[in-house]
């Protein structure tokens, strides 16, 4: 089976992803528009029928968000799967979409912990050390490894992802998808938990004062469990998103108002 896509088409999409993955990022779709942008040219070749092409573009306009460096694998995989779908191989639209959504969460968690919290910090620490005392070597080292290596990785992972997507065509069964999703999902959830713990803080300033007696609410909360409010807040938002259909924008506005009121009242 010869591919309808030339190597140039894939490379073009890989570069579009490198340049544009965060363009127009927003709380409603995050990187969703960029995903459609990345795939729009190769998809046009895969779907010569205008109606098919419209549907293909529309299904990649959805919400999409991940850590962009490791996550560059995902648009590649999806392009490989789309090629199978356009060839009427054993791929359905559902498989394409569920693979995309199943991968983005775990890759966000794992990517944030490995790339964001670890690799980038190590590079920055070394660069600070090298430039301490006014040397330019640290600055050059920083540009090479903090900017250069991720650019290369994003391109390479997209190309690898495409091959992987094509090769996985005959392999993907619902069972395999379930196992891959579950195992990656567990790693993703554990790391997202850790990153949430190190990032989100909900400070409480309120103190109950009665004569000599001062009871700090924060102390009581810490005795229940350190970080209990951040955990409750994140789980609460997750519940509102899944059960009450809250959007991220709605959550943002409500939190904004709540913080202003609580700070004004002296509780935070």
């Amino acid at each position: 089976m010869t591919s309808k896509l030339t190597k140039k088409d894939i490379q073009g999409a890989a570069w579009t992803n490198v340049f544009f993955h965060h363009c127009a990022q927003n709380y409603e779709r995050m990187m969703g528009l960029a995903f459609a942008h990345t795939l729009c040219k190769p998809l046009e070749k895969l779907y010569p029928e205008k109606e098919d092409y419209k549907l293909a573009l529309q299904r990649h306009m959805n919400f999409y968000n991940t850590e962009p460096t490791l996550g560059s694998l995902i648009p590649g995989v999806v392009l490989g799967l789309e090629e199978g779908l356009s060839n009427k191989a054993d791929v359905t639209e559902e498989i394409v979409l569920s693979t995309k959504t199943a991968l983005m969460g775990p890759f966000a968690g794992i990517g944030d912990s490995l790339i964001g919290a670890t690799y980038m910090s190590i590079v920055a620490s070394i660069a600070i050390g090298l430039s301490d005392g006014g040397s330019l070597i640290g600055v050059i080292f920083f540009l090479l490894f903090h900017a250069g290596v991720p650019i290369f990785l994003k391109y390479w992972l997209f190309m690898k992802g495409y091959e992987l997507g094509l090769n996985a065509l005959n392999l993907i069964t619902p069972k395999i998808t379930e196992i891959v999703t579950t195992s990656l999902g567990i790693i993703g959830l554990v790391t997202v938990g850790g990153i949430t713990a190190s990032t989100v803080r909900v400070p409480v300033a309120y103190e109950y004062v009665s004569g000599e007696l001062v009871i700090s609410l924060q102390n009581i909360l810490d005795r229940i469990m350190p970080g209990v409010l951040s955990l409750v807040l994140t789980l609460g938002l997750w519940w509102m998103y899944t059960r009450k259909g809250w959007s991220a924008i709605k959550a943002l506005i409500i939190l904004l108002v709540a913080v202003i009121v609580l700070v004004y009242l002296g509780i935070m």
Partner: protein, 271 residues
């Protein structure tokens, strides 16, 4: 500071917005030339004091060490700290202390602007939707390019003006802000990332498998209450994942799935 110098700072500052695509996307700008250690060195060259530039650059870089940008939100905006706080300190020769003193409140204001754009930019995918419904790829590309216009205007304007008007003007503006607003901004900087994390949870925890949220709680509790760091936690997560998959699917995997998977490279995902 001369107007042309302020304008150059404004332009580099625009490249430091994480959405700016022109310089290899986020990598070349936000994670490249606009990071404090690089940008402050460039500004040092511009103001004829490279040593001062590097010194301010590494001080600001150290301030943001280990700060990641989960779900888009930073607790404090590096751009405002670098392209107003850092640049003014280098230009005025105020040194590292001046830079850091300005960086903290400015970083908080930068977050507010960032949150504004993360909301405002929701307009552009709707433009993309209309193009997609017509099978018009150029419309999608146009929506992406157009989304840069407001960001470009606002960031270049703010950075250029703040630098041109100088350090006294910026201090005066910061002093006008009530302490409560600064406090509210700093609290929001630490609370709002939860909006993004919870959205991630929604997409990892599939309907009908809500029990998986337990793994999130486990990761949270371990990092908060033990001396685990993020790498040990990731390795621990891999271990738990293997245990779980073997326990849950081990019997089925023996039935032949394993041979299939490992021969075709598809197992890159496993573990």
């Amino acid at each position: 500071m001369e107007l042309w110098q302020a304008l150059i700072i404004g332009l580099i500052g625009y490249f430091g917005v994480n959405r700016t695509p022109w310089l290899f996307g986020q990598s070349g700008g936000f994670n490249g030339i606009a990071q404090p250690i690089v940008a402050c060195t460039i500004m040092g060259f511009m103001f004829g004091n490279v040593q001062e530039g590097i010194a301010v650059g590494i001080a600001l870089q150290a301030m943001y060490l280990g700060v990641i940008q989960p779900g888009g939100a930073l607790p404090s905006d590096r751009g405002f700290a670098t392209f107003i706080g850092g640049s003014l300190a280098i230009a005025s020769g105020g040194g590292v202390e001046a830079a850091i003193a300005l960086a903290v409140p400015l970083g908080l204001l930068g977050v507010a602007l960032f949150q504004f754009f993360m909301t405002f930019n929701a307009y552009f995918p709707h433009m993309g939707d209309r193009a997609a419904a017509n099978g018009d790829k150029n419309g999608i590309i146009k929506a992406q390019y157009l989304s840069q216009v407001p960001t470009f205007i606002v960031y270049v304007l703010i950075y250029t003006l703040a630098n041109y008007l100088g350090v006294d003007f910026v201090r005066a503006m910061l002093d006008v802000l009530p302490a409560q607003i600064i406090k509210a901004l700093s609290i929001m900087g630490r609370i709002l990332p939860a909006v993004g994390f919870a959205m991630l949870l929604k997409y990892i925890v599939v309907r009908g498998r809500e029990w998986m949220i337990g793994f999130f709680v486990m990761g949270f509790v371990l990092l908060m209450n033990t001396s685990f760091n993020i790498i040990s936690l990731t390795l621990f997560g891999i271990g738990v994942s293997i245990l779980f998959v073997v326990a849950r699917y081990g019997a089925e995997l023996k039935g032949g799935l394993v041979g299939n998977v490992s021969n075709n490279g598809g197992d890159d995902y496993d573990e």
